[in-house]
Symmetry: C2
Subunit: 236 residues, 2 copies
Amino acid sequence: MAAAAPPPPPTPAPSAPTGLPDSDSTPVGHPLFTRIRLATPLDIPHIHKLIHQMAIFEKLTHLFTATESSLASTLFKSPPFQSFTIFLLEVSAHPFEKDSNFHSQSFTPIERIFNLDHTIIDPEAETFKSGINSDVVVAGFVLFFPNFSTFLGKPGFYVEDLFVRECYRRKGLGKLLLSAVASQAVKMEYGRVEWVVLDWNVNAIKFYEEMGANVLPEWRICRLTGPALEAYRDAI
Amino acid sequence: MAAAAPPPPPTPAPSAPTGLPDSDSTPVGHPLFTRIRLATPLDIPHIHKLIHQMAIFEKLTHLFTATESSLASTLFKSPPFQSFTIFLLEVSAHPFEKDSNFHSQSFTPIERIFNLDHTIIDPEAETFKSGINSDVVVAGFVLFFPNFSTFLGKPGFYVEDLFVRECYRRKGLGKLLLSAVASQAVKMEYGRVEWVVLDWNVNAIKFYEEMGANVLPEWRICRLTGPALEAYRDAI
């Protein structure tokens, strides 16, 4: 269940009001080249920083205890999509070089061009630089894993976190990340994609409903954690 | 996320008002011998019937499309606890024979004796018979799988379904099943156990809170499924 992390409420870029940007369109104005690829253990420092930013955004830094070490010991232990999986969002002002390292049988990176009215100034470009000799930066991520519907008798995906760094928001990148998960679910013949949202976050709810999701009004999350969970150590 | 399946609201048996039954106590009255073990592919026919009963209980049979075949093709594909995992609850009027088949490095079956005021008449004993030459019957199950908290930087368990057959309810067996998952989470140093409940199911909410869980008031589940999900097939 979500670590108190409501996805930001991105909205499609004005230049692509009816859906996802067209990869075949000729870049005009200020093109932002974007790529979604599977994260690797080498990305853990960036992922850790993104999660920390998410905790700040949520005003929940007191709950943030993840370290690079704890992430390294729990992520990337299974093949992609079989357990915890991360899609990383990278952006660049220039077309991506072909990087065969990121192509796998599991997932071919998704590339899209967003045509923006203005160039984005990224004050953290150096911190989130991806690779050595390029202007590619990490702009966001989505972490998801399989869940299971007993009624459908098949798996789905649960999206734990969706995060786009501040200067890249409201351009359709959140929609691109979530769409990538939905598309992967369809490819795998999974039955559902689910996530959670705060009931007062009307912008996010509107955004998700426009993407085709239903918000279930009656279900509440129960959480057993901390000392209350620890009490079960010797209870059985 | 839960397949519209709120766990039943069991309450501890009168003979064990302060917690789980003591395995060392001498059986008095009408002992019910219970065992929690990992389910195996051989249990699929029983599991399928239990899920169907759950759909009837929830008045959601129109959503029930699982078949023994769909369960067989999606469950038991990973080692226990790494993906979708089922604990099966078996009961008997007699002590369980030692069955080394059910002992594994992953999980040692849990046995408890419940001392009841009356013998339980199980009208479906024949249907849910477990094994050939015994009076052991399958009484319920819990299906759970790992989830992940990015803030904690570690996994937890998500409980998708908890179900006890009608004649075995209100004796503490639901609590025993959920406690077994919580205990396993603690053993694996996981950070949380989570599940969902319907907001109007006050008995279940009270029961879960008594078990130490918090019910989170603000989070809502978003679900993308059916044609709305299918629309993402070629969207990216």
